[in-house]
């Protein structure tokens, strides 16, 4: 959204890093939207897969991903209730306002 900055202090990411095992983790983010939080945690996690049922938001998330993160971020259209990933394939699952 133009003219809006969400959490520029990055308190959300600091809380995540401080309370969960994010560093070096393979992360699945359910309900990633346009990837705002996905991009912010990409520098700390080993790899992040963002999933959201809204195809337009996923397309925007892909557009907004900087080149330096493209090797470690992946976005897919999908639902948290029907994940296509194998058993035991992630270190951390993040629900960002999607429960």
């Amino acid at each position: 959204m133009r003219g809006l900055r969400t959490d520029p202090e990055r308190l959300e990411v600091r809380m995540l890093v401080g309370r969960a095992s994010l560093r070096g983790a393979r992360v699945l983010e359910i309900g990633c939207g346009d990837g705002r939080l996905t991009r912010r945690i990409a520098g700390t996690a080993r790899a992040v897969v963002g999933v959201d049922p809204d195809g337009e938001r996923i397309a925007r998330a892909k557009r907004l991903t900087p080149a330096r993160h493209r090797g470690r971020i992946q976005f897919e259209v999908g639902s948290g209730e029907d994940l296509r990933f194998p058993n035991r394939s992630f270190d951390l699952v993040l629900f960002s306002w999607s429960l």
Binding site: D7, L11, E12, R19, A20, F90, V93, L99
Partner: protein, 144 residues
Amino acid sequence: MVHALTESHRVLRPHGDVVDLHPERGPGRRRARRLPVYIAAGHRLIPAGTLPEPADYYRRYLAADRAVERILRDGLFTLQAREVFPLRYYFRSLLAMEATLEKEWTGMTLGETLHRRLRTLLRSRPQAQIVVVEPFRLNVLRKR
């Protein structure tokens, strides 16, 4: 919601974490939240009023809390951490705030009193930003 948590249990490695971030519904019996609104002038936050949320937002937060409690009762996870922290949204102008309310924060409206107060505060501080503070809850659940 509970099903999504069960699915996350399946794809997590043993002792992996689920992190749930969602708005904190707050204490007491109030069934809708009012988010504090400020004007950021330098390092100061000047109170401007509150922004009421529709009751259906509150019901979503309540449902999320109940899903977490249910999955903990089922014994799939243990609670590792639970905290509330303030998330801040900064709007460059009143117009930007109004556009966000119309397109993204649907169902929320600036009341006349808050609108007037923001206009008054911004008139003498044209570079100031509008800040909305939202309490957020973080739950960390560890796979058993």
